[in-house]
């Protein structure tokens, strides 16, 4: 069993409360940073740790922080991206609802490092009960002197607020999130300028995922070098994986980066194997946006090496034979799953969530959904498969934000690895077997 950092105390009774969290050593990183380190030294530790953005993009956090502009007299902001909406991802909800003070501690330490005196946690609106948990924890932190004026007598001030979203996947994109936080529609901004130069209210801003900010706590406590000892190569530290789909033990697992995929799926320590003793068919390893891989390619790379849960190993082979670690939203599909129907499900999602700003995405996502609807409902033609391929190719790379790419990749990978299933659907239409009647076929309900 790998070590646990973020989830070391997640099952301690009462860990939601300040008293228990503090008793378990909580807020030590704030004490250490504010009393014994300069902000630059905190940034340096994060750089040394090799921590990479846990929201999906995997960009080195220390580098992102070092890009933050610091003009005199202009406020800087830290905004936590808790808009967790990538299908298959639920780790941030788990962390926030289970150990809310962990995120708050990370926010204080990180805000200090960045010189921010006002910070926001932008939480997707559907998580209103999580917002209530966070608000309560923030009140406790203010009362205990970890937030507000002159924290620990160091002269450092910080106000921390929670902001609810309104229900929009696109607000997970950092510039759309900032627009939303300013009270506008979540239309992503053209970059550059990047938020590090011009972010919230036109001021220098860092936007980081919940898990990224939480990881700053052990990095400051143990030191960046210690954190970097965990993992393999440029995939350092631990990662929260949200495991779902046809597995025996869905849930959030904290793994050392580097665990073999096969072990993650079949070990009782993690997913516990495929539900109902069925065979593994495919995995979407990093949230709905990353390429789907068939069983053989998710377990082994094209070179026959064991596929590992790292940024590098999951992307080994590029999009031809690999995928991405993404947000760690690990969706497992058994042999009964119709890849075509699942793709229609994804396509509908991206069409629903496209903000409508760029025409390739606005029109393309709807078009792909329609073509897939046609195929799934038994009216498809062989040329529709090529049309789908052509559509995704024309969306990818031609939009302001990555939602276009995110909509294109699942389509491209499904056709690349499962073209025969599309052809079968076109030939046989309605009669294709799938998981549609899950409850009946699995005898789960009366």
């Amino acid at each position: 069993m790998g070590r646990k950092l973020l989830l070391a105390n997640d099952h301690v009774p009462g860990i939601q409360s300040y008293a228990v969290y503090r008793e378990k050593g909580g807020y030590a990183s704030v004490e250490k940073a504010l009393k014994t380190m300069t902000p630059e030294a905190v940034v340096e530790e994060v750089k040394k740790s090799g921590l990479r953005g846990r929201g999906g993009a995997g960009f080195p956090t220390g580098m992102k922080w070092s890009f933050l502009a610091k003009p005199e007299g202009v406020p800087r902001y830290l905004v936590c991206n808790a808009d967790e909406s990538e299908p298959g991802t639920f780790k941030d909800r788990y962390l926030m609802s289970r150990i809310p003070h962990y995120l708050i501690e990370g926010m204080i330490t990180s805000s200090y490092a960045l010189g921010a005196n006002t910070s926001y946690i932008y939480v997707r609106g559907e998580y209103y009960y999580v917002i209530a948990i966070l608000e309560k924890a923030i009140k406790e932190a203010y009362a205990a002197g970890w937030l507000g004026k002159n924290i620990l007598g160091t002269g450092y001030d910080l106000d921390l607020y929670v902001q609810p979203g309104g229900g929009a996947y696109i607000c997970g994109e950092e510039t759309a999130l900032l627009e939303s936080l300013e009270g506008k529609r979540g239309n992503p901004r053209i970059k550059p300028p990047f938020p590090a130069i011009k972010g919230l209210y036109g001021c220098p801003t860092v936007v980081n995922n919940v898990e990224t900010i939480a990881a700053v706590v052990p990095i400051v406590n143990e030191g960046g070098d210690e954190y970097a000892k965990i993992g393999i190569g440029r995939s350092t530290g631990t990662k929260l994986i949200s495991a779902s789909g046809h597995i025996n033990k869905p849930g959030v697992y904290e793994i050392d980066l580097g665990v073999p995929v096969e072990e993650f799926i079949y070990s009782d320590q993690y997913c516990g194997g495929i539900l109902n003793n069925k065979k593994l068919k495919a995995v979407v390893a990093g949230g709905s946006s990353v390429p789907i891989l068939p069983a053989n390619l998710i377990l082994k790379t094209a070179n026959g090496e064991d596929r590992l849960m790292t940024y590098e190993s999951l992307s080994d082979g590029g999009f031809a034979t690999g995928s991405m670690l993404g947000s760690g939203g690990f969706i497992v599909m058994d042999e009964t799953t119709s890849i075509v129907k699942n793709l229609w499900n994804f396509a509908r999602f991206y069409h629903h969530e496209s903000c409508g700003q760029c025409s390739p995405c606005r029109e393309g996502t709807g078009w792909m959904e329609k073509v897939l609807h046609k195929i799934v409902h038994g009216h498809g033609e062989m040329k529709d498969i090529d049309l789908l391929w052509d559509l995704q190719r024309r969306i990818e790379g031609n939009t302001i934000c990555p939602l276009g790419d995110a909509a294109a990749w699942p389509v491209a990978s499904a056709i690349r690895h499962f073209r025969h299933e599309f052809e079968e659907f076109v030939r046989e239409g309605h009669s294709v077997k799938d998981v549609k009647h899950y409850f009946e076929t699995n005898n789960i309900s009366s």
């Binding site: 609106g125 929009a168 699942n342 499900n345 969530e353 009647h437 309900s445």
Partner: protein
């Protein structure tokens, strides 16, 4: 237009508190949270007069409210039942039987997705991923997530909600039962 539409004093107090969370002159940032408060106070949806009231309270133009309210999926621009059943339909929930759950609710309530029961008690809606994939299938009603659904659990929920009879909002107290 209803002329005397007003927020309750305690809601107004809350709105002022929310507005104080942003820097001087940036109170438009309060729009999303205030729309949630407005929806909870005025029967679960945002009519044009309610949106105009929000604009007035925040000293912004009505159009700035309309364009935001129409962008986000949680704001209802039409009346909804007291209990809005939002069933997740995206991948992981679909893999674990979300379609069956939707059909079961349709059969139980005698309505189709998107419709409201004649007594105004339930509206059935399918929504995109709610971040509850490990406890699929699931639905949200008010602030509460109902997870690992089975037909029996759905039947129990519907019966409980009927008995309770109250409107569910995102601000309801939640019993956290997950994990």
């Amino acid at each position: 237009m209803e002329k005397n539409l007003q927020f309750k004093p305690e809601t107004l107090k809350l709105i002022k508190e929310v507005m104080s969370r942003y820097p001087e002159g940036k109170h438009k940032s309060a729009l999303l949270p205030v729309l949630h408060l407005a929806q909870a106070e005025f029967d679960g949806w945002l009519s044009a007069p309610v949106m105009d009231l929000v604009a007035e309270v925040l000293s912004i133009q009505s159009i700035e409210v309309y364009e935001v309210a129409s962008f986000y999926s949680m704001y209802n621009l039409k009346p909804v039942g007291k209990c809005l059943l939002e069933v997740c339909r995206t991948s992981s929930c679909w893999l674990r039987g979300a379609e069956d759950i939707v059909h079961h609710i349709e059969k139980t309530l005698g309505i189709k997705e998107g419709e409201t029961t004649p007594d105004g008690m339930f509206t059935l809606k399918t929504v995109e991923c709610l971040g509850s994939c490990g406890t699929a299938p699931m639905l949200q009603c008010g602030a509460q997530f109902h997870e690992n659904l089975t037909f029996e659990k759905v039947d129990q929920l519907v019966s409980d909600l009927k008995k309770d009879g109250a409107r569910k909002t995102y601000f309801d107290e939640v019993t956290v039962t997950h994990y």
